[in-house]
Symmetry: C2
Subunit: 393 residues, 2 copies
């Protein structure tokens, strides 16, 4: 059996207000082509299918079409779970009909205890859940009240869940888990994550790869880069597209999917890259370089998206920075400054902010951005606003 | 062929804040039992399946379960269209999977031109649309620009749509239309509607039954009572539950579904009643009667819902009216007054309201409700609010 592992589609997501839908559609078409070329037996989507619990109509229509292409047009089975971004109950609609064509979707903890059985594989699909969901589930299972109350962390909850799953193992088959969590290589080894919900995990709250060691393979979602995979057999596929500038900054970290082959004695994983339609280019240069034709003519202007950090910038010398950069580069999805040339009297750092009055902070901010003092009228306006805000209390 | 005709489920609707979900579930179970007892060949849902374009999670879960019971458990075909309350594109999700078990759902105008063919019946499913949808459709069909612009009313749009449908008629079969609109018996005969979106229809904007005369039968949704049916073969099933007090006031207008039999030479319609779980009782009595045990002990208190109008009520004599009535009757979903005893200086009718200043209106209203004048402080507060509101302009 050969499966394509993907996750974190986040259909409907935007990047600083720019829709990623076209990007996501294009990545999907490549993903489907890979599935067909590799003649896989199914596609695993390990959670965060949508970006939000109540996705936009456009997102709903887009996902519906993608799933149809996989499952109805190309007759490929789907093994999908809900992630923390999905509205589990809402996503659930219609799944009993979808099951008929081997489109399997799990959105509830209790569903993890009924594996899908293939000839040589047991597929356990464990959707995202939190300790409270585990409490409710184990209470319903008749667990002792005190034991239920002792479920505090996701690590404790997972321990119970996995032990119950291990009881269901058929020793004659390989065991695959599909899930959606942040998992560290080990308890004392922290990993940096690019999922936007957590920037670091570690300590007692963290799940660790050894908790999953009885599985032959674990396909994870939640962290958006495959380089966060705890080990060879507990893996993140990463998202099919880049969602933010932080991800774009990581060089040589192309997006894609994993092709996992369970047929031999050894389970093998092969990464297949997805080429972005619109790449996200990160530039960190000074103003002179950014506006120099010799520099920008070497850039893929007006086709890709740019995240630009202007270095050593003196605001007093330029206005309409964004407009000028957009004229040169096309779509500038993020604009930032590094080592901004400060004007006199601007606060040297944020440490003394707490000692300033609110109107003083506005005053300083205005000065640091424009290089000018607030006018008399502007000062009065700011004063009045803070007086009014004070009244609200 | 025998079909059950229902419409306007409005799953997720509330009545003055009270959820109707339990009521709707219970009515559904009766509906399904009728379908089984009558051995129908399918269930028609003529639009407004949900109450809102973005239904609550509870509504989504409830509808999903109902549709599963019909189509997957009891293997009954479903013929459903979207109404004006449904979010057509959102409702669309998963329908290609549902089609596999004869769950047919149309949400777009263009889908009306592909009938479902049974041995002796052509079923045309025309979802709710507006003149703008018709313009877009006919533009795509290559209609002359000027002709497209001439589509102003739903009546004009429907004329075009129906003419196109008539071209598709198989003369060897009967022709059924399922749709969701307000349809009058004839152009000069206005009907009173209980759909909340329109209280009366008539004139040029109105669809009339003769426009549909080429169909052997028309199953409609939109108007919530079957008594609004234009004629014997162009019929509203009405909603399965009472949605408001106006409907409850109509005596002998029990809710239910139609069983329509197409097998003989004559198409026959039989109404099957659905008994409400919680009835909505309308009381219009004076305070002495309402609080008299001899009266209220004859009422189904604490089991049904009450909409109470207190007649000839003198507010100065009683306080906590709602609390007292709830203590006696249980759930009071609506409380109103008729012929309220006015206190001195209260405006005799609403006609002179337009001549009063805003603060005067508040003053009068306060007096009519409490029997007291506004205090000096209260008057000042009201004054200040209106001064502030004036500033906003």
């Amino acid at each position: 059996m050969k499966l394509l592992h993907t996750a974190d589609w986040h259909i409907g997501r935007t990047l600083n207000g720019y829709s990623l839908l076209d990007e996501q559609k294009q990545a999907f078409e490549q993903l489907l082509q890979i599935a067909k070329d590799e003649q896989v037996d199914g596609i695993v989507i390990a959670g965060d299918i949508y970006d939000r619990a109540i996705p936009s109509t456009n997102a709903v229509t887009t996902l519906d079409k993608m799933l149809q292409e996989i499952n109805l047009d190309d007759k490929l089975p789907i093994y999908a779970i809900s992630g923390n971004h999905d509205g589990a109950k809402r996503l659930n609609f219609g799944r009993q009909w979808m099951k008929q064509t081997d489109f399997h979707l799990n959105t509830l903890l209790q569903e993890a205890f009924t594996p899908i059985e293939t000839e040589d594989l047991q597929i356990f699909m464990l959707p995202f859940f939190d300790p409270m969901d585990a409490r409710v589930y184990y209470q319903q299972q008749g667990m002792d009240e005190d034991d239920v109350k002792n479920i505090h962390t996701i690590s404790q909850a997972m321990e119970l869940v996995l032990n119950d799953i291990y009881q269901l193992f058929d020793p004659n088959k390989k065991h695959l888990l599909i899930s959606h969590f942040a998992v560290s290589p080990s308890a004392d080894e922290e990993i940096e994550l690019t999922s936007e919900t957590t920037s670091k995990v570690g300590g007692l709250q963290t799940l660790t790869a050894d908790q999953f060691s009885q599985f032959d393979y674990v396909m994870l979602g939640h962290i958006h880069t495959r380089f966060a995979s705890p080990n060879e057999h507990v893996r993140y596929s990463g998202s099919p597209v880049k969602f933010n500038v932080k991800e774009a900054r990581l060089k040589n970290q192309g997006k894609g999917v994993d092709i996992v082959d369970f047929s031999g004695d050894e389970i093998t994983t092969e990464f297949k890259e997805i080429t972005p339609k619109t790449d996200l280019i990160v530039l960190e240069e000074d103003w002179a370089t950014l506006t120099d034709p010799n520099f920008y003519q070497t850039q893929p202007t007006h086709s890709d998206w740019f995240a630009i950090t202007v270095k050593d910038f003196d605001r007093s010398k330029h206005i309409n920075v964004r407009a000028k950069l957009q004229e040169i580069y096309g779509t500038v999805v993020e604009l930032d400054y590094e080592n901004l040339v400060q004007v006199a009297n601007a606060p040297a750092n944020a440490a003394n902010l707490s000692e300033l009055s609110p109107d003083n902070i506005v005053d300083q901010f205005f000065k640091s951005i424009t290089g000018k003092d607030l006018s008399h009228d502007q000062k009065e306006l700011v004063d009045n606003i803070f007086v009014d805000l004070g009244k609200e209390d």
